[in-house]
Amino acid sequence: MKRPGHVGRILSAAALPAGLLVVWKAATLVFRLPTTFLPPPEAVASRFISLIGSSVIQKHFSTTAVEIIFGFLCAAVLGVLAGYILAKFAVLEKVLSPFILIFQTAPKISLAPLFVLWFGLGLSSKVVLIALVAFFPIMLNFMVGVRSINPDYLRLMKILKAPLLKRVVKIEFVGSLPFLMTGMRTALVLSVTAAIIGEMMGAKSGLGFLLMNGYEMYDIPMVIGVILAISFFSWALDTAMKVLQDRLLFWHESADRM
């Protein structure tokens, strides 16, 4: 059988979105849908293009990006610290594990309105929400990573009379990077969701705020346009994370499969 060439692969990849566009356009024509219900694709496309070019979205975008950076960094630092402590002190983990499980499974995103109430419409309420949501995958993955390190590595460090900091940094941290990176990738995507939901609950700017504005004004082309922009943003973040993952983990078994 002939394998599809480069052009063939692009065509087959484009088939699904193209089909969707056709169905979408046909639906708006056949059912005579008003723009306030489902606008036709070209209306969304032109709104999207004008949106991307405008300075308005740049302001909202930078608000959301700053929230994600701060929230994610807080989650990463706290998650790594807490994950390490739980990995090393099994007793503590045993005592805390029921609470961790409850916290982990609870829909933390539902706290968004409360955080807006407590921390206001600005940056801090979103940072707290993002940090909370992103914390768990980072902490849990790092904890598992530190625990999964072959004890012979720690014995080697003891024979080499390694200071504690060298052991932590050179063996435990680097050795659990494959787990940490997986956790961080999950956490980053969750961070975007948390930022948007937080802004929808109450904000003065941000992509979620813009989305809510669109809803309130029945500007559905803008709503869909903003959703598209958020999706691209989220995808770009994940891709950047994957590139970082591949570069850092060139030595790991998973690198052979990629």
Binding site: L156, I159, K166
Partner: protein, 253 residues
């Protein structure tokens, strides 16, 4: 003299569980022996006889319940007394073979560049020249274990402890690794304590073989190996070789 390893009446008891229903298992009982400077001594015994535990006690990884261990002091000032080779190579997968061999200096906060020529000499001795910049996953199991030996010798320890280092390696590769190890021993003049469950391997390599019995682990025999050195394929055809192997096999039954 400082070149001697002295193991004095070491007894090791492990406790499991807690309270009155606690189990006490005597893993090693009254282990007492010495290893001279530059000597190659093997410890053999059935699985569960505590030979790995004994090696960990000597390495200072476990404090014995009773008895004591006197380890020869480090050859060079600022070096470490003990080199340890594990059953698996325990190389850092994110470092090259050379990076791994220089890792002890990195940990000790020493200038790795200055140590590179010496380590490269060890690579040559181990037959690994040309593989310095390979990553562990690009090397075969036998080569990884050789890098691990180079790492353990890089900082010139007074005593090299080896815990079934070739246990997971196929028989053909193992024969050549044994010869490489003997070459490296002759060149570096290290004191080596080698744990294995392979009687022929122990006899082939060693000056003396310590035989441990099980439940509790104790010394049941110390056999001198009076075979000529350097040893090679002919050694294995020597009647004294298989006579000793046979005797030790009987002893372990």
């Amino acid at each position: 003299m400082n070149g001697i390893l002295r193991v004095k009446n070491v007894t090791q008891v492990f406790e499991s569980g807690s309270g009155p229903r606690r189990d006490r298992v005597t893993v090693l009982k009254d282990i007492d022996f010495e290893v001279r400077e530059g000597e190659f001594v093997s410890i053999i015994g059935p699985s569960g006889c505590g030979k790995s535990t004994l090696l960990k006690i000597i390495a200072g990884l476990i404090t014995p319940t009773e008895g004591s261990v006197e380890v020869p002091s480090a050859a060079a000032p600022g070096s470490l007394p003990i080199g340890f080779v594990f059953q698996e190579s325990v190389l850092l997968p994110w470092k090259t073979a050379l990076g791994n061999a220089l890792f002890p200096f990195e940990v000790m906060g020493k200038d790795t560049k200055a140590r590179e020529p010496g380590v490269r000499d060890l690579f040559r001795l181990a037959g690994l020249s040309g593989f310095e910049n390979y990553y562990p996953k690009q090397l075969s199991g036998g080569m990884r274990q050789r890098v691990s030996i180079v790492r353990s010798l890089s900082y010139d320890p007074a005593l090299l402890l080896m815990d079934e280092p070739f246990g997971a390696i196929d028989a053909i590769t193992r024969d050549s690794l044994n010869d490489i190890l003997l070459d490296m021993w002759r060149e570096t003049k290290k004191t080596i304590l080698f744990v294995t469950h392979d009687i022929a391997e122990a006899v082939y390599l060693s000056d003396r073989v310590i035989v441990l019995g099980t439940k509790p682990g104790r010394i049941i025999e110390i056999a001198m190996v009076d075979l000529d050195r350097p040893r090679n394929e002919d050694t294995k055809l020597d009647p004294r070789f298989y006579g000793l192997v046979k005797k030790l096999r009987e002893r372990l039954k």
